[in-house]
């Protein structure tokens, strides 16, 4: 079989516009979802290191549920099932009332899923700090909350920068799953160009390059952040 390459397609409107609007949506979904993932994940990760068995159990249950169901299935649960389980009015509002329901569904789905992964990193970071440090912090009279605020969290968040960077890149790549519920992000746009023009490979190439560029920018930026906040003489946990 022969393929007629036509790179010109990439700089032809509307296709060029599609690609950049796709990239915009990808970034918007990823960053919004990351806000949820980071805050919720931190709360759950911290819960799993506390002394209260109930909080630990809640945290563990959350992580197991979100980690053991495929992300795509979660996407469908949020999109098709979740509105049905709400009281009628709320369900209708979720389906029709809010603007861009697909976008918000994707954001919540990716955010809550990645939160379970972030929680595991936060927990690992806190647990990596020696018992001696906790005891020393208590010994100088800090309250349990202060122990976290002034000792455990400042140390652990610095050490988990590399795995957290991978988690962010994970959310960035996973945002492509939003295409299954109709968000026209980058991958969806390339697929659309394929359908309109049959010049799929050019579009895929463009998307591939854009994904690689963003990945590089994020890694470069995070490496600088890591260096900036690093504590002399303390190394970080390696990225997976």
């Amino acid at each position: 079989m022969n393929y007629n390459w036509n790179w010109g397609i990439l700089i032809t409107e509307p296709y060029m516009g599609w690609i950049f609007s796709g990239l915009g949506w990808t970034l918007l979904v990823a960053i919004s979802a990351w806000v949820i993932a980071f805050t919720l994940g931190s709360v759950i990760g911290i819960m799993r290191t506390l002394d209260q068995p109930i909080l630990r159990a809640i945290g563990a249950t959350y992580v197991e549920i979100f980690r053991n169901i495929p992300l795509l299935v979660q996407m469908f649960l949020w999109y098709f099932i979740f509105p049905e389980l709400l009281p009628e009015e709320a369900g209708l509002w979720v389906k029709r009332g809010i603007p861009m329901p697909e976008f918000w569904t994707a954001v919540i789905c990716l955010g809550t899923y990645t939160a379970s992964r972030v929680a595991e990193q936060v927990r690992a970071g806190i647990n990596a700090i020696s018992q001696g440090q906790r005891q020393a912090a208590r010994a100088i009279g800090l309250s349990p909350a202060q122990v976290y605020r002034y000792v455990l969290l400042p140390i652990s968040y610095r050490t988990i920068i590399p795995p957290m960077t991978s988690e962010f890149l994970g959310i960035f790549k996973n945002s492509s799953l939003a295409l299954t519920i109709g968000v026209l992000e980058l991958t969806a746009q390339t697929r659309q160009i394929e359908e309109y023009t049959f010049q799929g490979f050019e579009a895929f190439t463009a998307a591939t390059i854009l994904y690689i560029i963003v990945t590089f920018i994020v890694m470069f930026f995070m490496a600088r952040v890591e260096k900036k906040v690093s504590i002399p003489g303390v190394t970080s946990i390696g990225a997976k």
Binding site: M1, Y3, E64, I65, R67, N68, I69, P70, L71, L72, V73, Q74, F76, L77, F80, I81, E84, L85, L169, K173, N174, S175, S176, L177, L179, T180, T187, T190, R191, E194, G200, F201, F204, A207, T208, Y211, I212, T215, F216, G238, K240
Partner: protein, 219 residues
Amino acid sequence: MLENFDFQVVIDAIPFLWEGLKLTFLLTFLAIAGGLILGVLLALARLSHIKPLSFLAASYVNFFRSMPLILVIFWFYFLVPYIVGRPVGGFYSVLVAFTLFEAAYYCEIMRAGIQSVRKGQAQAGQALGLTYKQNMQYVVLPQAFRNMTPILLTQAVILFQDTSLVYVVGLHDFLVNAEIIASRDNRLIELFSTVAVVYFVLCLSFSLSIRTLQRKFSV
């Protein structure tokens, strides 16, 4: 609300769902096998002292790790028929995509496993006069495999979940078959919750057995 649910639909659909689940298992299994073989080769190349070889392997890994799996599936879904020169069916194209994609992750896991063996161990092997190959074979790799087995197994669970992405090219896996029934009978809730529960039970029990195994190993 629950009285409106009709799980009879699910029961009737079991044979069809099972067909889908079998494809999910088959794809997972073949992709693990292919990914492991290619992954070992990549890891060896990546750690080799031949600079161009390790550079190539590193580029391969970074390339696949910066791409979304869905995009990789699209690529190979369209590319493989062109390379082979005739239509090969979605399954084989997707299998190629999963194998090449997983290999990048397996490579990284194995590289980390090998590097997790302390430098002193390799030095002790060298000091005894073991050759590079013997040192790898008897000292470094056995320890590395022990360290990375749980991570490789966890990656298998992730792959098992990721195979659901064949949805985007319409292969009849577990999820797609469930969706077919769901839209035919308009029973989304029953079928999607069944899919979620089945995946959850399978993945959780596998993850729990990995942890048990890990505890046994680490004694």
